[in-house]
Subunit: 724 residues, 2 copies
């Protein structure tokens, strides 16, 4: 013991002149390896790479023991350095490691250990659990040795690696563990564990201990349990995704002041002349009935600022619901694109087959890019495709989200069961509070693959990305394949590229299903069904809303598509009431001033209509009747059908409403003659009603009113008694 | 039998020359006797009166057998006539009998019997029930003999009355019954019973058989069971009141075309010179707390068009509630009346004592009339007293009723238990569809006694009318005494004299109790608490209701008495809310725009206020907002107190109402400076509010409004949110 103590003391006197050499074993330049090297370069650390290009002989160390091969590759190098007293050698893995400090810092931390060899520590005893009890107890800190990172004097390093023989498929961690558990050897080699992650932070099982600090000029990770900031971040075991998350920030990838620091590196700018742009193979997958298919996806595809003759279109439609539209559309656009292929719903092809086929087709067309696009992904920026290409990633997706929701096409993290988990930065990324290109464990809906990368895969032993999985749907299967094979997947939110269409709750039993789809896809709904001048009214001052009679207001609310489709929907339903006082649809069973009508709840449109009231009518109401906060409750919402041979008019009455909405669904002078609403007490009539415009008037007390006779044609109005 | 038959036959040949003599026994000229004689006179029938002025010796025949005295009085007269073959003699009672046909008719009916003697029949076997089974059976008709009326040839009549001796106190009916039940004697005297009331209608037990027909030119009674119309109506046994009822019509007392035929007979017109009018002693009885005492009774007494120096006022107040008012008032008017005596609530005098004392005081003052007046009787016609005197009845009351109710101060009939029963003409009399002077079994509240009649009673063996009874309250005891002693009580509805104040449900725990008394005494309430110009507004056209701002109306609603008293009531209660949002009085516990107020339900005034809304506000509302039928429901009714140091104003808001009522309880410029209501959207203020005027405006949507700052003094408003 006395001897050891002395030797430690005298070694410390050399500290000023020590040198650090990092050595790693890597047989392939994986995405992880490249990230490792980039982090080393950032800190000016030179790395001795051993085994590059050689065939890996260390077994499947993701799942089983092994790695003796690593040691055998290291031995010759260490032998060269064994005499250098000033040399400190650090071994680290590279596929799952990031540097977080420079050599000086590392050496300083090493010297603080005042020993010869420091091994990283972790909380699992691996690969031989039975050895756990033989480990010395530690107060605060991880107890067990991990061979993914260690540091020591070159001579001691050589001594220990040659302590005994190891075969390529033996386990390297077990080799060192056995030495460590022998108190004599531990002493002899001056071997200690980095229990509290002074140098090495093994992330497996330690995720909760780690804080990521994103500050104005740097981002770094600390261990909050030990109050340490490690120099090496190691995504050992199941912590690869967590390392990827940290790798989006460290070292110097992102900080608050400068944002994403790597996002402008290595861009693939396209030439001015668009005819020289890369070719793109677009696989369009319509897996389930998709609202607003024509207005959203098809339109956004058509409107991309990308030469169509450079695009191959490959359309797969799984659902007969869209058969007519898609087969027709495919035909229509055939001449515009480099090629168009349509696989219809009648074909008995699985999703896996379809996605695999499309990818292969892309390869066979030698396309520069393959865009795998689902029918729910909409590009709002016509330059989205070009801009994605520019980002120059093997596999990347634009972040697309459901408007005003946190539902997007990527996951920031993944749970143990393989399903969604929220990463710490998911919300700030979705909210675009942090913009960048992010390495994430799951992407979908609109994935751009580099053609060259795909080609490499096709020649690779692992083969092309796979969509098949026993547990998962094709989209998750693909990402699982990517993760398992060490391929990074990126999403970009450097800008807004587009959004997602929601297929949830899409009812297809109506005649016009999209008119019902207000809740899930409001943006599309508004574009199609709101009156084009509604926003003018919304932004107008109260005095600019026209007032044809005292306290009666008038504004554009619904589009011609709406008025047409709702009439067709109701006429298809067809059960117009008989206009009699007894009305079983009503709570009291009796209506004093009955109309021939259909109630919105008879055609399942009530929730939608109430939403129209709340979202579009109330904002106008509050403008012209300030201070009145309507709850947009309305128990009676109906379309009246006026016809000279049916019900031509409606006698004077009050409505059971605080205010009434009366929307013209037809045009006086064109669809019908006569009609209109007369306010008796004001002696004021509104007869020149305008298609889709809503009349808004107090229902009780002041506005006694009548429906004027329709003398020919049919007049339809949509009426709603809002109360309160 | 053969002999009898022959004699009958030969008698009938004399019919043309027969004469009728009516004989009766009467010792006093009771009201009933006078009525009897009047009816005889009407038919030109001469009556032989026997016993007048003699002392009755026949026992108490109302309750016990007796009446042999009658027969002994008749004998000498019949003896005179015994030889006259052409003479038919009819005996009838007189106190309880009315003629309903003339002699010819009576004789004709008698001859139709083709026998010598016809006795009236009744359905009770009296006085010896055990004889019932010995009576011959009759098919349809009454089986038993009644000696209250019989008719026969003078000779037979004499024979039968002298068939055997009878003592004065033996029963006359038993005397004739025994003869009738002896078949030999029955035959011998040619004795038959008038089973089906051809001549005699005994009313006891037969009331349901009798129809009173009031036709355009006559009134008459028929027996609907036997289809007969008797010549004699006899109120035997307990049917005296029913006879009195019939006597109001028969003979020729009332018909449809001419109305009351006796009402203009024997009037006591007063001279022009009112100083020569009779003196009246008024006993005013305040038995229980009486709403509107000052405004109704006291005022109506003061305003009588009758010289006050001819009136003695005797006031009895049983209740401390009115002590202040009555003692003060008695003092005030002392100098105006001939005399005023006040007996206050502190005196330990029973009602019986009080009423008896007053009657005696009237006698001792030698008053020409005594008016016994309860505090609930109000004269609306100032000439009522004079007009009642003119009617010249011993005992009479004006009909007074609760307005729009069937509750009056008389009963048309009386039930077996002595309490109220409805007569057949009660409703038409109360509704004044039949006007007249009616003989009824119960009167109260305002009874005018003739002084002379009272004087006669005071010297009479029966004494003064009594208010004492074991079963009944003094008012019913009095009437029972009157009925039992054969004194008729009249009510007049020849005109409307006044009405009754209701003391039901009168709450006296408030500061101002009358303001709460809207339901029981609406007429008084309206006079005191409705604005004097309310009726002008009610009768105005819609355009004449002023409209200070668009759809805001303004009209006089409540009187200065109302505004003053409600404020005092609330200030006495004192629990003004603190003006904070949290308000435990509300359903939701929260008020967005709170005021410092007291809710009407906190002072028990909610039902009343809702009635004001329904009865007085809604009729104006429907005029200016036609077609809107409000249910006058209002969950929030409150008085707001504005004060510079408390709540000076109210920020802009809407009310939770279809329309709002806002009544000024104070006067701007006098009670306070500032204040008023501003309609923000209309940019229109109502600041010159008028005391008791109601502002009516839509509550929601169109009329965003605020309470303007009260800069000095206190502004109170009464607010009500009507919905719907
Ligand atoms: O015909 C109109 O515009 C009036 C319809 C109406 O008042 C109603 O349906 O309640
Ligand atoms: O002060 C006023 O007249 C307005 C009162 C008012 O609006 C309210 O109490 O709701
Ligand atoms: Fe209407
Ligand atoms: Fe208000
Ligand atoms: Mn590793
Ligand atoms: Mn549906
Ligand atoms: Mn009698
Ligand atoms: Mn009360």
């Amino acid at each position: 013991m006395l001897l050891t103590f002395l030797s430690l003391l005298c070694l410390s006197t050399y500290s000023m002149s020590l040198e650090l050499k990092v050595i790693t074993v890597a047989t392939e330049e994986t995405d992880g390896f490249k990230r490792f090297m980039k982090s080393a370069a950032y800190y000016g650390i030179s790395v001795e790479i051993v085994g590059m290009g050689e065939e890996w002989k260390g077994g499947d160390i993701q799942r089983y023991p092994g790695g003796g091969f690593k040691l055998n590759l290291l031995k010759p190098v260490l032998e060269k350095w064994r005499e250098r007293k000033d040399l400190v050698v650090m071994f680290v893995d590279s596929y799952d490691v990031i540097f977080a400090a420079n050599s000086e810092k590392i050496l300083e931390k090493f010297k603080d250990f005042r020993t010869n060899l420091v091994f990283s520590a972790e909380q699992f005893c691996w690969p031989d659990q039975s050895l756990a009890s033989r480990y010395p107890k530690v107060g605060l800190g991880k107890r067990f040795l991990c061979s993914g990172g260690y540091i020591g004097y070159a001579s001691q390093m050589y001594s220990i690696i040659t302590d005994s023989e190891i075969s390529d498929t033996d386990d390297d961690q077990l080799f060192y563990t056995k030495i460590y558990l022998d108190p004599h050897k531990r002493d002899k080699y001056g071997m200690r564990l980095d229990h509290r992650s002074h140098i090495f932070q093994n992330l497996n099982g330690a995720e909760d201990e780690i804080d990521l600090h994103v500050t104005s000029n740097e981002s770094y990770a600390t261990n909050t349990l030990y109050n340490t900031r490690a120099a090496i971040l190691h995504g050992n075991g199941g912590s690869k995704n967590f390392l990827n998350f940290l790798g989006n920030y460290i070292p110097n990838q992102y900080n608050v002041d400068e944002g994403c620091l790597h996002c402008s590196e290595g861009l693939h700018e396209l030439p001015e002349d668009s005819s020289k742009w890369p070719t793109v193979f677009v696989g369009l997958f319509v897996m389930s009935p998709t609202p607003f298919l024509r207005e959203a996806i098809l339109k956004s595809l058509s409107e991309l600022n990308y030469p169509k003759n450079l695009i191959h279109l490959w359309v797969y439609n799984k659902n007969s619901y869209h058969e007519d539209l898609l087969s027709k559309w495919s035909d229509e656009v055939k001449s515009e694109y480099a090629s168009v292929q349509y696989t219809g719903s009648y074909r008995d092809i699985t999703e896996i087959e379809a996605r695999t086929t499309a990818m292969k087709e892309s390869l066979s067309k030698k396309s520069d890019y393959y865009l795998m696009l689902d029918s729910t992904g909409v590009f709002d920026d016509p330059d989205a495709l070009r801009k994605l290409i520019t980002l120059n990633k093997h596999v990347i997706a634009p972040i697309l989200g459901r408007p005003d929701k946190y539902w997007t096409n990527f996951w920031g993290s993944i749970a143990k069961d393989g399903f969604y988990a929220r990463s710490r930065d998911y919300f700030v990324i979705v909210e675009s509070k942090r913009k960048g290109i992010w390495n994430v464990p799951f992407i979908s809906t609109a994935i751009l693959f580099e053609g060259e990368w795909l080609l490499k895969r096709s020649t690779d032993a692992k083969g092309l990305p796979s969509f098949a999985s026993e547990e998962f749907e094709p989209d998750m299967a693909l990402c699982q394949w990517m993760r398992n094979n060490g391929h990074f997947m990126y999403v970009s939110n450097l800008q807004k590229y587009g959004h997602l269409i929601s297929t949830s709750n899409y009812e297809i039993h109506h005649l016009h299903n999209d008119i019902y789809n207000i809740f899930e896809n409001r943006q599309e709904w508004e574009k199609k069904y709101l009156h084009e001048n509604y926003s003018v009214a919304l932004n107008a001052g109260p005095d600019d809303i026209s007032q044809p009679c005292t306290d009666v207001y008038w504004f554009p609310l619904l589009s011609p598509a709406y008025t047409k489709e709702i009439i067709e929907e109701l006429e298809k339903f067809g059960k117009w009431s008989n206009g009699e006082n007894d009305d079983p649809r009503l709570d009291g069973g009796y209506e004093n001033v009955p109309t021939r009508d259909i109630h919105m709840n008879q055609v399942g449109f009530e929730k939608q209509w109430l939403d129209i009231l709340a979202k579009y009518v109330v904002p106008i109401q509050i403008k012209v009747f300030p201070g009145y906060y309507s709850r947009a409750r309305a128990d009676l919402n109906f379309v009246v059908k006026y016809h000279p041979q049916g019900q031509p008019d409606l006698r004077p009455h009050h409505d059971s409403s605080t205010f009434t909405i009366n929307v013209a669904l037809t045009r006086p002078g064109i669809d019908h003659q006569g009609g209109g609403c007369r306010f008796v007490r004001q002696n004021c009539s509104v007869v020149d009603t305008k298609l889709g415009w809503a009349l808004m008037h107090p229902g009780r007390l002041t506005h006694y009113h009548e429906g004027l006779p329709t003398t020919s044609g049919t007049r339809y109005i949509m009426v709603s008694f809002v109360d309160p």
